[in-house]
């Protein structure tokens, strides 16, 4: 058993304190990082509830329940931000990525507490893959929402569609890392490869004068 609330307090307090002395976009970024950590904490409770409700094993929960709960929970603060504060749509990707970074950081901290920090290569792989996965989902949701919220009648279908895409993407990752041997290796590699491709595309596409509408 690990005391995730204690870990949360320990990680979130320094971030919360620094908010008092910074402003502008950095402050928003930091707030969303803390929100991501809070969402990770709450997701653990929701996952445990559904695991008990369905009588599911840990493996089944990781593959079938966790992706749904985590992605739904990650979307809620963003929707709150959009609907209550009505920010400029160009600020949404940054907020979504900050939320994903906070979530991944807290998840990794809990993982370290539970499993130890002896195996550097394994932790490097996990840090890269889990971090890349959450950031990819953040990028998809952030850029997706910034488009669909420009058109009122697209907002609902687009938001739920993006949520579904993130859920299945996350579930495929969890499914692969739950397997053995080559499946697990593929699971650890594919988010990192995708984020490397995305980064290469971000650098290359403007140079090739290729822009999305």
């Amino acid at each position: 058993m690990i005391y995730i609330e204690n870990i949360f307090v320990c990680l979130a307090i320094p971030l919360a304190l620094c908010i008092l002395f910074i402003g502008g976009r950095t402050r928003t970024f930091m707030l969303f990082m803390i929100a991501g950590m809070s969402v990770c904490l709450l997701s653990a409770y929701v996952n445990s509830f559904f695991m008990g409700y369905y009588g599911a094993s840990a493996t089944v929960a990781v593959v079938e329940i966790t992706p749904v709960c985590e992605e739904v929970m990650k979307l809620l603060p963003l929707l709150f931000y959009i609907l209550i504060f009505e920010p400029k749509v160009r600020n949404l990707p940054e907020a979504a990525v900050a939320l994903a970074v906070g979530f991944a950081t807290f998840e990794n901290a809990c993982y370290l507490t539970e499993n130890g920090a002896e195996n550097l290569m394994f932790l490097l792989g996990r840090g890269l893959s889990a971090g890349a996965l959450h950031i990819l989902c953040g990028i998809l949701v952030g850029f997706g929402l910034s488009y669909v919220f420009r058109r009122r009648w697209l907002a609902f279908t687009g938001t739920v569609g993006l949520l579904g895409a993130c859920i299945v993407f996350h579930a495929i990752y969890n499914l692969l890392i739950s397997g053995d041997g080559a499946w697990r290796t593929a699971g650890y590699l594919f988010p990192s490869v995708l984020i490397a491709l995305l980064f290469a595309g971000r650098l290359l596409l403007p140079k090739l004068k290729i822009m999305f509408a």
Binding site: V63, I65, V68, W153, G158, L162, I172, L176, W183
Partner: protein, 204 residues
Amino acid sequence: MNFELIDNCFQIAVLLCAALAAIAAEIRHKDRRFLILALFYICVSMGTLYWVLHIFIFGDVPQVFYVAEFSWLAAYLFLLSFQMVRTDRAGPLFSLPALACALLAAAVVLAFRIFGPSYVVSAAFAGVVFAIVYLAVWRLRRRGGGGLIDCWLLLCVGLQMLLYVVSVFMQDFTRFNLYFAVDIALTFSFAALLPLALREVAGK
């Protein structure tokens, strides 16, 4: 290897190629419809990929939650978004024949609990199908039977419903049968949406 896996792998390959082609079309034509279509293809293929991987890794289909169904539902939501982007609201949106067709489609979805057995997921799919069919029939009537792509969308929705209806009567999914014939037709009909969208954009 049983035919279910072959059919699913074929669907994943075809739709991922269609997604790449849709992204290329988006870059070339700078029209958001292609990006939405690409997301539709990606969601269908990722849902099927999850299903296939679950069979490969655990030797069984998912038992507790509806991850693949969420993905397919998301795909149909993108298809609905595609319809909404194509629809300009000039004139009244109400049409009795469109409403009748949409209600019939939603009733079939609920009767066969498509994307079920959860009532919630099935009802959500019924709502999405209702909206897609309504907009397609409304557009067809308004334009005097013009848009081929609207007929094609109705065909896609019809094949999706037929797939589930046929699956009720099938017992053996290891060999080729009517179920797989419908599924392959559905895969090709999804893929054909892209050339039809290209034709529509070119004809603008």
